[in-house]
């Protein structure tokens, strides 16, 4: 399976322009023979939407740009980010896995960063689920940006049997001081989690971040793929546009699971029992 990661810079609030950008990259990915293409968080709309949230929102079943991507997914599996509007008037920061002309799964971002420079919970309703599904990449789970940095998200996808974890991200870079790696300091935390989660779930971790600037904030790039043994398979440039390809060999999942029994030995029923007890004493 050849997977393509499009480290693009969408136009803020312009779905049609961004759809054309997606199609351009889909064409390029097809030329290279890719089976799957992954775009960043909110790839169809741009990230810092604020009051543009409602204006850029799509209804998966009826919106034309979404339908266009669903049609294109007959030729290549597509993972893209968008604002999902519901009939009840809510907006979700969402990601869709499209394949074979169908919507295989839509994930709604659960952890909406709302502190410091982030204000997502002001504009989005939170998702409430981490669900795995079958895709050409095996049992698959999606996360959006900050979801990835909560340990529980990874555990839940592991409990769901995830073999491939795909993370769509729009992570701005912070902290350029004392850096030696020609990257923002924050890039390190994503890689730390990528390495850790891939190794301890024996699953592929595919992280697609974006590039470009919005209102002065630079997106950190540095998209990557880690193998089920925690080995870095491919990494994109930091803080600039890039188009990354990685060959994913699903046999590596079984190889990793022969060597390490993390996933076999996982005990979600213990987690459930402990969480139920802790939940009643949880201070919010």
């Amino acid at each position: 399976m050849l997977i393509a990661l499009a480290q693009i810079s969408p136009v803020l609030g312009e779905v049609d322009k961004n759809l054309r950008l997606h199609i351009k990259f889909i064409d390029k990915a097809l030329q290279k023979g890719a089976n799957v293409i992954v775009f960043p968080e909110l790839s169809l709309t741009g990230y810092r939407l604020r009051d543009l949230t409602a204006e850029a929102a799509l209804v998966p079943e009826t919106s034309a740009p979404f339908g266009e991507l669903v049609r294109l997914s007959r030729r290549i599996s597509i993972v893209a980010g968008f604002v999902e509007a519901t009939a009840s008037g809510r907006f979700y920061n969402a990601a869709a896995f499209l394949s074979g002309g169908r919507i295989l799964h839509i994930h709604r971002k659960v952890f909406l960063p709302t502190f410091g420079m982030f204000e997502e919970a002001r504009f989005f309703a939170p998702g409430r689920d981490f669900r795995t599904f079958d895709s050409p990449l095996g049992r698959t789970g999606l996360m959006i940006c900050r979801d990835f940095l909560q340990l529980s998200s990874g555990s839940l996808l592991q409990a769901g049997g995830a073999e491939t974890i795909i993370v769509l991200s729009a992570a701005p870079g912070r902290g350029g001081t004392e850096g030696q790696g020609h990257a923002f300091a924050t890039s390190r935390m994503w890689e730390l989690m990528g390495e850790t989660l891939s190794f301890f779930t024996s699953a592929f971790v595919v992280y697609c971040n974006r590039s470009g600037f919005e209102d002065g904030a630079a997106f950190a790039g540095g998209s990557f793929v880690y193998t089920p043994l925690g080995r870095l398979l491919a990494k994109a440039a930091y803080a600039e546009k890039d188009f990354l390809f990685a060959e994913i060999d699903r046999r590596e999942i079984l190889r990793a699971r022969r060597l390490w029994s993390w996933t076999r030995d996982d005990k979600p029923e213990v987690a459930l029992r402990v969480l139920q007890r802790v939940f009643h004493r949880h201070e919010d």
């Binding site: 810079s9 136009v11 803020l12 609030g13 312009e14 741009g46 810092r48 939407l49 604020r50 009051d51 543009l52 870079g173 350029g176 001081t177 004392e178 850096g179 030696q180 790696g181 020609h182 990257a183 923002f184 470009g212 600037f213 919005e214 209102d215 002065g216 630079a218 930091y238 803080a239 600039e240």
Partner: protein, 270 residues
């Protein structure tokens, strides 16, 4: 406080190029004083946009700062950017003939706003955007003229402390004279920033970095080895200058008000 200069240079050049490009511009204007900040801004702009797309405006007040004017010309020639020298004394003097004053800062502020006025005029003439030169130190303590030297269309230096701008300047191989020069706002002859602020940039930046970037409390900063009086004075400067860093408040009457709940991003549609 040490920065990865090569990486910062790359990010700031991309910022200048992309921010201008998204707004539909190719050209930039920079006010050149012959000092550190404007030289770094101009160097970044030249690298990002190509020297021919950058206009350096050297705007001295008469002959009072002849050496700085010469340094600015020298820099423009080294960077191979276009430049132009315009004396702002006739405009400033005409104003003070009408309403004389002995207060030096009034004249300094007027000079800063006269330069702003010329920069904006050339921004329109040249179909170019003004690339700002205010650094994080002066923005935080409010050491700048509101609607004067602080005015710009985009600012590549606003998140770098003065000492970090100096690191970047050395990395960009700017002339030794500019690197070594005592920083001055040029409000009056012989004035230096450090004398007027009463602190060296080195110490000021280290205190600001602890207060702002590390979010340490006053007590924590003092106990890490800085004089309480200095820390307190800096905190007062930050607080008193908040108005310079914000758009003026709009009195809210309606249910949707600019600045309150009419919340569109700056890069709307870009």
């Amino acid at each position: 406080m040490k920065i990865d200069c090569a990486f910062v240079e790359r990010v700031l050049c991309a910022f200048v190029r992309e921010e201008l490009g998204k707004a539909g511009f190719r050209r930039g204007v920079v006010g050149l004083s012959g000092g550190l900040d404007s030289s770094v801004s101009a160097a970044l702009a030249a690298e990002a946009l190509g020297p021919k797309n950058v206009l350096g405006l050297i705007l001295p007040y008469g002959r009072s700062y002849a050496a700085d004017t010469e340094d600015a010309r020298d820099l423009a020639r080294r960077l191979k950017i276009r430049f132009r020298v315009l004396d702002i004394a006739p405009m400033v003097d005409a104003y003070f003939r009408a309403v004389p004053s002995k207060i030096r800062t009034l004249k300094g502020n007027k000079m800063a706003r006269e330069r702003m006025s010329v920069l904006y005029d050339f921004s329109a003439r040249e179909k170019a955007l003004i690339i700002g030169t205010s650094n994080k130190t002066e923005l935080l303590i409010g050491y700048g003229t509101v609607h004067g030297d602080m005015a710009c269309a985009l600012n590549p230096l606003g998140d770098l402390y003065k000492t970090q701008v100096r690191q970047l300047a050395a990395h960009l191989r700017l002339p030794e004279r500019i690197l070594k020069k005592k920083p001055t706002a040029g409000l009056w002859p012989g004035q230096t920033d450090e004398d007027e602020i009463g602190l060296s940039y080195d110490e000021l930046d280290r205190i600001l970095y602890r207060l702002v970037d590390l979010r340490l409390s006053k007590a924590e900063v003092v106990s890490s080895g800085f004089a309480r009086a200095k820390v307190e004075r800096i905190l007062v400067m930050i607080k008193k200058s908040q108005f310079k860093r914000c758009m003026p408040p709009i009195a809210k009457i309606s249910s949707r008000t600019i600045g309150h709940d009419f919340l569109y991003p700056y890069d709307w549609g870009r």
